[in-house]
């Protein structure tokens, strides 16, 4: 079949190919969303030219705006744009599957050997590491918000509400969003590049 020039792109991306690439990224993408997005950038853009830089940036933006893990959002979104619903389903599933299986294996090992005294030290160490990772993430995500008194107040407010009042997390998210609607009304309230930096920083609006 001759389908090579639909919207100036080469033949549509095969679902199996898509699955293959995402199984690989899903199995090798350590360290959270941003390192994974860098891997996906290499596979989708540099090696295969499946998406343009602008489309990739848009997918990262979707990942940041929409709830849920950023990389899963971005991958599903690109899958949908490449191959419609089948592309989205295959992308979503293939990306999650490797880490699901690995985590399941670790869980089984933990259930079996987690209580063994020799491993107490291991988990003590891991716990300290987790605290550091969370602190580092908060530092990376929070630093841009410190520049504006309003965002800094929202940050401290949410911290105290959760810590001292045990406020409901969903309620807090909604209240913070509503506060945002009240507080940020001028275009100047949205400095360019306010989003956390990804592997490919968002450029100005394309069109």
């Amino acid at each position: 079949m001759d389908v090579s020039t639909k919207s100036g792109r080469a033949a549509p991306v095969g679902l199996l190919q898509l699955a293959g690439v995402l199984l690989k990224v899903g199995a090798t993408g350590f360290g959270g969303a941003m390192p994974m997005l860098a891997l996906i950038h290499t596979e989708y853009l540099e090696k295969r030219r499946w998406v343009s830089q602008e489309e990739f940036d848009e997918a990262v933006m979707v990942g940041q705006i929409m709830p849920g893990p950023i990389a899963v959002d971005a991958v599903t979104h690109m899958g949908y744009r490449l191959r419609g619903w089948p592309g989205a389903i295959v992308s979503w599933f293939a990306f999650i599957l490797p880490s699901f299986l690995l985590m399941l294996a670790l869980t089984l090992i933990y259930m079996r050997y987690g209580g063994v005294p020799q491993f107490v030290g291991l988990f003590k160490g891991l716990g300290a590491g987790v605290v550091a990772v969370i602190a580092a993430a908060a530092w990376r995500m929070g630093r841009p918000h410190l520049k504006d008194l309003r965002t800094a107040c929202l940050m401290v407010g949410a911290l105290l509400a959760l810590l001292l009042l045990q406020a409901n997390v969903v309620l807090l998210v909604i209240l913070a969003g509503l506060a945002g609607l009240l507080l940020f009304r001028k275009p100047s309230d949205f400095p360019p590049g306010q989003k956390q930096g990804g592997p490919s920083p968002m450029k100005g609006s394309g069109r």
Partner: protein
């Protein structure tokens, strides 16, 4: 089981800002409200989620398994990831509006810092459970410096912390 599915659907639907944001959500629901796992197990689950590749949400597999075995693991992972799936597709149809709509951006500009505050709060709770003496405190500090100052890979840092712990205690 129904609680498990509903809780994880809810978490998947409201965690603006990426995987890390799930930590305060899961802490509140799975540890405090339902008591599905202890604080200790929760920290271990996050640690395991970090040293495996893929998104951090994967820690929900542990919780699902503990509540209802293999089926629970599948359901927890499916439920927490399902909202993401539909959001991403919806976003494809609203891309232009999302990019330009000031109200959407104002809402998210309010949510962004709040979510960081919530992550910090979860960090404090976890630190209280995990940093039990001077040594664990120093280890955490060393890890933090490695990540922030030297840009070390987070999964490697956690793994290294575990190995240090293995020899130290």
């Amino acid at each position: 089981m129904v609680d498990l599915i509903l809780t994880f659907l809810k978490i998947g639907a409201f965690t603006f800002g990426g995987g890390m944001v799930m930590i305060p959500f899961i802490e509140q629901d799975a540890v405090r409200t339902f008591g599905w796992l202890t604080q200790r197990e929760f920290v271990d689950a996050i640690a395991m989620g970090q040293i495996t590749p893929g998104p951090i949400v994967i820690s929900s597999v542990f919780i699902g398994y503990k509540v209802a075995g293999l089926l629970g693991a599948v359901l927890a992972m499916g439920a927490i990831s399902l909202p993401t799936f539909f959001y991403s597709i919806a976003a494809a149809h609203q891309l232009h509006r999302l990019k330009t709509n000031l109200r959407v951006r104002a809402f998210l500009r309010g949510v962004g810092p709040a979510v960081v505050g919530m992550i910090l709060a979860a960090g404090v709770i976890i630190a209280k459970a995990s940093l039990v003496d001077v040594w664990t405190g120093l280890l955490a500090l060393a890890c933090l410096i490695a990540i922030v100052r030297f840009k070390a890979d987070t999964s490697l840092v956690i793994l290294a912390a575990g190995v240090v712990g293995l020899f130290l205690w």
